[in-house]
Symmetry: C2
Subunit: 92 residues, 2 copies
């Protein structure tokens, strides 16, 4: 399964620390393509683990994570306008 | 066509002003669902207009816009972990 994950972690309280931890967890499973955006192929089992790790960190009332799941990467075309994150070079 | 658009506008120079303008332009065509994330149904013609409006604003070397296009919203499942943007209430 191909997913795109975007998060918005509030700067309130120890938000900065949480942001760093969320980033590291996402990097374990997905590829970082923009500020708070990750993408990649992932199994249902991995999504369950990713979700439980993130849910331990994020504050449900002020932090937001959205995950878009597509059964097939081919069903999702991607276009870059402006800067392409250098981490992407292995994609194109 | 269903799209998800994410942007990362650098704070350098008049980045703050550009950010506000980019937000307003995206809001004309799509629904704001998270910090710098928009989604919605859009026609090919509207995407061309959206792209040309944004391209006049963004600085190609430091700002980034990524648009994920799916021919059918059904091909993309969406899950929220944590806060759901209140603007979404009209969706569910």
């Amino acid at each position: 399964m191909y997913v795109v994950l975007v998060y918005d972690i509030s700067g309130l309280g120890n938000g900065q620390k949480i942001l760093g931890k969320v980033f590291k967890i996402c990097k374990k499973y997905l590829t970082h393509i923009q500020n708070s955006v990750f993408e990649g192929e992932i199994t249902e089992g991995q999504i369950v683990k990713l979700k439980s790790e993130l849910n331990k960190l994020i504050r449900k009332n002020i932090d937001s994570v959205i995950i878009f799941k597509s059964r097939n990467e081919k069903w999702l075309d991607k276009e870059f306008w402006g800067k392409k994150d250098d981490a992407l070079s292995n994609f194109f």
